[in-house]
Amino acid sequence: MLRKGIALAAFGLAILAAPAALAAGGAAPVKHVEFSFEGPFGKFDQAQLQRGYKVYREVCSACHSMNLMSFRNLGQKGGPFFDPKYPNPNDNPYVKSIAAEYQIKDIDSETGDVIERPGTSADRFPSPFPNEPAARASNGGAMPPDLSVMAKARHHGPQYIYSLLTGYQDPPAGLKVGVGQHYNPFMAGDVTASWSGPHDKVPPGGFIAMAPPLAAGQVTFDDGTKSTLENQAKDVAAFLTWASEPKMQERKAFGMAAMIYLLIFAGLLYVSYRKIWKNVAH
């Protein structure tokens, strides 16, 4: 009996220890960082979304497209530049002026010539590169992924983005990093092939072609928020989460009403059930 107990306890410990014993090839667990939009009552912080958009625009957008985003999205309900005065985001002057700062390729409807015209609220965010080969050619062969749904396309999306952006570090001794590559413990991948250290101590993470994109002071925030690496990473992670799930706030608000309705309905049905079955032995 005792032996069985010890064996069981050992098995239990082994299971508990599982997450600690990181297998080779896994990325490091994401950093713990809290966001205002988490939890059933979570809401996006509009000022943070504005700062995050600025980080995207001044840094990320140099290489990363956001093909699913239109300028009008920035002014829609819950968006970074939503203004209750302009329920139709296409009328939002701030959105219009952001769009107008871009030159959009178009066809002249009179002549059929290829022209460039200022952007409108209805235009999509322009891509930094005309096509994939051009993007690869400018980035050492790597394709900067589209960021439209990035926060949904990775486990723990917002935390992952934050961890990756703040997680660059010098490669541990014994890790050979290729030309044009950078070591990041939060990047998916397996560095075993480039590791000359002990086999059971392969560092977590992988190699990423993107050089550390953010540094302290890189983006000046208009609202006076200190431009640390952490703040920039957190704000852009929030912006990308909003872009991935622009209806999240609406969803959670709707969910609360649905839950209250369902709970009351369930309660009424239970009471009816008790009343109807009162005289039936079962």
Binding site: A153, K247, G255, M259, Y273
Partner: protein, 439 residues
């Protein structure tokens, strides 16, 4: 749908219609007056829950099909357009995506309930087989539905599953090409999957009709497994079970809503938000959670064809279950030994599901290397899957056939009303706490 009808048309229109097309009579006999055993527990509410699941999938699916574009260049973006620009598109799509998981949660509980209470035994064999057909159609529908967003898991999942047919000798390659509509998973594949994903749910609805018909001929089984003997044993379906099922359905909806509104992507895979790229294979291709047990069986066999045969065999064996179980006693309440084997069977299914989501060669107990047996370390998920798969088949092919002949069941009650009246809640204090142990 069968037996004596108590319907009396009350109005002129009803009388007129009743001699021409007695649909009101059919509805009255099926969902109002239908005599239902009065001892059904909450495990019996999953039939109603499943009907609601099917309804939700049909309604949300038809709306989604109004906005979805079945083309490799537009599918992914059209799904995101639904999420962003279609009014309440996020709600409709998340209900549909999570609804598939809810459907499977409910169907698995429904099936385990049937297994435990012997609902597949005479005279309900056809009812059970129709259920197996529905389950098979559900799996085909769910698989093709998962392909439609054309994300990385959609594409590579489709490649893996369609390639399984390539394992068949001689005709395999031709079948695969025929399924694909070409020489690789591509636009024709997506097109036909969309078409079939739209068609199959209506076939499911048709077989559900037959399933309910086949239910209403012998009537419901019940937790005692004892046949209905008299009117004493039953209550009319309405209001007794409309209210009980209704309560259970709403409680199930609360769970459903928790996923839809607060964690809509928890049951999916993040990789499916990466547009499909045939040139980049995801590190781990995993199917949706409800396929994991079968995926584990597939991978447990070193030979591809053998794996495919065993995977389909795991479903095929359920079709002949009514003739494998030799016991005359329906409910496992009165089969203590079978009950034990049943719970191990549930555990084996859960273990298979767990293994299906893991890498076959990874250690079950981390850091512990034992010895290599045939092709893998004994402490690996592939071996755990093998043991669980072995038990899965042994349960149907050995345990149930043999146990029915060798076990001594506990005495069964005379009638449904007998144990009902001696239920601990109604019995005086000091009476036996377990009604299933009473004669």
């Amino acid at each position: 749908m069968s037996g004596h009808s108590n319907y009396e048309p009350k109005t002129g229109i009803e009388r007129w219609l009743d001699v021409r097309l007695p649909v009101v009579r059919l509805a009255y006999d099926s969902i109002i007056d239908f005599p239902t055993p009065k001892n059904l527990n909450y495990w019996w509410t999953f039939g109603g829950i499943l009907a609601v699941c099917l309804g939700i999938q049909l309604v949300t699916g038809i709306v989604l099909a109004m906005h979805y574009v079945p083309h490799v260049d537009h599918a992914f973006a059209s799904v995101e357009r639904i999420m962003r620009d279609v009014n309440y598109g996020w709600l409709i799509r998340y209900m549909h995506a999570n609804g598939a998981s809810m459907f499977f949660i409910a169907v698995y509980i429904h099936m385990f309930r049937g297994l435990y209470y012997g609902s597949y035994k005479a005279p309900r064999e056809v009812l059970w087989i129709l259920g197996c057909v529905i389950y098979l159609l559900m799996m085909a529908t769910a698989f093709m539905g998962y392909v439609l967003p054309w994300g990385q898991m959609s594409f590579h999942g489709a490649v893996v599953i369609t390639n399984l047919f390539g394992a068949l000798p001689i005709v395999g390659e031709a079948i695969t090409t025929w399924l694909w509509g070409g020489f690789a998973v591509d636009n024709p594949t997506l097109n036909r999957f969309f078409s079939l994903h739209f068609l199959l749910p209506f076939m499911i609805a048709g077989v559900v009709g037959l399933h309910i018909w086949a239910l209403h001929v012998p009537g419901n089984n019940n937790p005692t497994g004892v046949n209905v003997k008299s009117k004493e044993d039953t209550v009319p379906f309405h209001p007794y079970y409309t209210v009980k099922d209704g309560f259970a359905i709403v409680v199930f909806m609360i769970m459903f809503a928790t996923f839809v509104f607060y964690n809509p992507n928890a049951l999916g895979h993040a990789d499916n938000y990466i547009p499909a790229n045939p040139l980049v294979t995801p590190a781990h291709i995993v199917p949706e959670w409800y396929f994991l047990p079968f995926y584990a069986i597939l991978r447990a066999v070193p030979d591809k064809l053998g794996g495919v045969i065993l995977m389909f065999g795991a479903i095929a064996v359920m079709f002949v279950l009514p003739w494998l179980d030799t016991s005359k006693v329906r409910s496992m309440r009165y089969r203590p030994t079978a009950k034990l084997y049943f719970f191990i069977f549930v555990l084996a299914c859960l273990i298979l599901g767990y293994c299906g989501g893991k890498l076959p060669d990874d250690h079950v107990i981390p850091g512990l290397s034992t010895f290599t047996l045939i092709d893998a370390d004994l402490n690996s998920f592939v071996w755990l899957s093998r043991f669980a798969a072995l038990y899965y088949f042994a349960y149907f092919l050995v345990v149930l056939p043999v146990l029915g002949l060798t076990e001594t069941p506990l005495p069964q009650p005379e009638s449904i009303s007998a144990p009902v009246l001696s239920h601990p809640a109604n019995a005086p204090a000091g009476a036996a706490a377990s009604p299933e142990k009473r004669g």
